[in-house]
Symmetry: C2
Subunit: 342 residues, 2 copies
C-alpha cells in the first residue's frame, strides 16, 4: 500500500486531479498557477488557494507579521503571474489552543497590511484548533476576459525572462518578498508575455512546469541567471566540492592544480548557481516573450519598473527538452549535485 511519501506530491496531485469534475466555464484548472473561470462578460475570475504551515514554511520564532505577509503573499504571487487584479480573500486558520492571541493578532496584521496594499478585501474564513499553526488563504482575482497569463502559452523562439535575483531566499526574502503584481498586470495588459509562472519551487522545477504545460523545451544560459547576494552568502558556510548533504561532488574541472583559490571561487559560483536553480520561494516571475518583442519589452520595462529583468534563455521546439548551457557547452546538472531536482 503506497504512501503519500512514496508516491510523491506531484504524482499524487496528477492522480487525484483525474478524479475531479469540471465545468464548461472553467478555462484553466489544475496545473496552472491559478484556475481561470468565466466570471462576467468582461472578466474572467482567477481562483487560487495556498497554505503556510509552522515548521515547514515558517518557524516558531518567525516574526508573526511576516507569517501573515507570506501566507497572503504566496497567493498574490500566483495572481501576479496570471496578470490578475486581486479582489477578495478568505482565511482558514488552524492554531493550537495555547497560541497567544497577541501572536495571532500580529499574523492578521501582516495579512491585513498586504491585503490593503493591493485592495484585497478579506471577507471570511474559518478557525479550528489543531496541532500546528497554519494559514490557508483563498483568493479571487480577475483579468479581462481571455487575457490571463497561463503556463501553457510559450512558443518556440520566445525569449525567457526572469525578474529579480534568485536563490538564498531562506535567509529572509521568503518572508518579506514583494509579490510582482504590478509587473504581472503590466505584462498582461501590454500583451507582452505568451506564458508566465511564479517561482515558488525553484527555477529548475518551475521552468519544467512551464515547459510541460506549453509542450516546449528551453535552452538556458546559466551564466545569465541572476544570482541573489543571499545565494552567495549561503554558499559561504558550505565546503567547496561537497553537496549540501555532505556528498563529494565530481569536479567540473580537469584537475585541481596550482590555482586553488580561483578554483575555490569557481566552486562557489557553481554552488551559488545551484541555489539559484533549486532553492525555491523566490516569488519572482518567469515569463516568455516573442523574440520580435523582446528588445522593446526590455526597454519599456526599464522605463516602467526598477525591478531587475534578465533574459536567461530561449524556448525550443522539443517538448520537455531542457538544456543548461554555459559558455557554449551544455552542462550536466546531475553531475553537479543536482540530482534531487527533476
Amino acid at each position: 500500500m503506497k504512501t503519500l511519501h512514496q508516491l510523491g506530491e506531484r504524482e499524487l496531485i496528477r492522480q487525484l486531479a483525474r478524479l475531479l469534475p469540471t465545468r464548461a466555464d472553467v478555462r484553466a484548472g489544475i496545473g496552472h498557477d491559478v484556475a481561470v473561470v468565466a466570471g462576467t462578460a468582461r472578466h474572467d475570475f482567477l481562483l487560487k488557494s495556498d497554505a503556510v504551515i509552522e515548521g515547514r514554511h515558517f518557524l516558531p520564532d518567525t516574526p508573526p507579521r511576516q507569517i501573515g505577509h507570506k501566507a497572503l503573499g504566496r497567493v498574490l504571487s500566483d495572481l501576479a503571474a496570471a496578470g490578475g487584479e486581486p479582489l477578495w480573500g478568505l482565511i482558514n486558520l488552524v492554531a493550537p489552543r495555547d497560541t497567544s492571541v497577541a501572536r495571532l493578532r500580529a499574523v492578521y496584521q501582516g495579512l491585513a497590511s498586504l491585503a490593503r496594499q493591493h485592495q484585497l478585501a478579506l471577507v471570511g474564513g474559518d478557525t479550528t484548533e489543531g496541532a500546528a499553526l497554519e494559514l490557508h488563504v483563498f483568493a479571487v482575482g480577475r483579468a479581462p476576459r481571455g487575457t490571463a497569463l497561463l503556463r501553457s502559452g510559450a512558443r518556440a523562439g520566445d525569449v525567457l525572462f526572469v525578474t529579480g535575483a534568485l536563490g538564498g531566499s531562506l535567509a529572509g526574502k521568503h518572508l518579506r518578498f514583494v509579490p510582482r503584481l504590478a509587473e504581472g498586470q503590466w505584462l498582461r495588459a501590454g500583451r507582452w508575455a505568451t506564458a508566465a509562472i511564479d517561482l515558488s519551487d525553484g527555477l529548475a522545477t518551475d521552468l519544467a512546469h512551464l515547459l510541460e504545460m506549453s509542450r516546449v523545451g528551453a535552452d538556458i544560459q546559466t551564466g545569465h541567471i541572476p544570482i541573489a547576494a543571499a545565494a552567495f552568502k549561503s554558499v559561504e558556510n558550505e565546503t567547496p566540492g561537497f553537496s549540501k548533504a555532505g556528498k563529494l561532488l565530481p569536479s567540473p574541472f580537469p584537475s585541481f592544480g596550482k590555482y586553488a583559490e580561483n578554483i575555490s571561487n569557481l566552486w562557489k559560483k557553481r554552488a551559488a548557481l545551484l541555489h539559484a536553480l533549486g532553492d525555491g520561494e523566490d516569488f519572482e516571475l518567469l515569463f516568455t516573450v516573442p523574440r520580435h518583442k523582446a528588445a522593446a519589452l526590455a526597454a519599456a520595462w526599464r522605463k516602467k519598473f526598477r525591478t531587475r529583468l534578465t533574459a536567461i534563455g530561449t524556448i525550443t521546439p522539443g517538448a520537455g527538452q531542457l538544456v543548461w548551457s554555459a559558455a557554449g557547452k551544455s552542462l550536466d546538472l546531475k553531475a553537479a549535485g543536482f540530482e534531487h531536482f527533476r
Copy 2:
C-alpha cells in the same frame, strides 16, 4: 498573555475581523454563512471556506469517502443557507507523509461524487505534508443579484422554520448528510425567507447567531423542536438526572414520587431535547418567513419536497431576547444542564 483557548474562538474571530480590510463591492462579509460580493450585473458571488481535521471532525477509522463528503458538504450547506448555486471549488490538503494513497483517493472520490451531484467544478488547491489529515475547502457560488439569503433579515413577527430533525448527528449523519441546496435555492427563488442559517454548531448557538445578526429575539416552542431518532438513541447510554459530563442536574420536577418510570421517560425526552439544541453538525436549515406567508410556504413546501419542515417559534422585537417555552411556561435551559451554551 491570553491564549486562543482562554479568549474563545468566537471572540477571537470578532477581534481579528476588525483588522481586516474590505471593499465597496462586498455586500456581506464575516459573520454570515457566506460572504456575498458583487459579481456581474445579474449575479452576486458567494464565497465560503471551511475545514475538516482528523480527530476533530472525523476519526482515523472514518470511511474515507465520507471524509470527502463531509469536507465539501459543510461548505455546500452554507451555500444552501444563502440559496446559492455552487460553481467552483478548491481544496487544500494537509496529510502526514505516511498517509496511504488509497485512502486519499477514496477521500477525493467522496469529494468528487458530491461535487458532481451539484455541478461544482473542483479546479485547484494545494497539497502539504502536516501532522494530521486536513481538508480545507473553498467554494464559490452565485445567486441572482441582491437575493442571497443572509442571517440578518429576520423581522419581528416572522415564523421560524427548521428542516429535518435535530440532534445525535455524531451517530452518523454528520458524515452522510445531504446539503439542503435544492431547498435553499427554492426558498431564495420564491422569496419565501427573510433570513436563513445552516445548523452546524447546534440549534441554540446558530439561532443566537441569526438573532444577533438580525438584531431581534425569538420565542421558541421547545415542544415543537423536531428531535432526531439518533438524539433519543444517544440518550439511552446516559444516566437520567446527570449531565453528559456526569454532573448531577437539578430536577425540573417538583419531587421524585411514585411515577418513577414516567419521570425517567420525561428525563429522557428532556435529555434528547438538549441533544437537539446543542449537538451541532445537523446541517439542516433554520429560516424565517413573514407570518402572512407561513401557511402558504408550508403548503408549497409539502408539494415540492419530502424533507421534513417544522415551525418552531416566532421572531420577537427585543434584540437578543431568546425565550424557550414549554407548555406556556418559559424554560430555564441553564438549570437543565445547558450552561455551556450561550
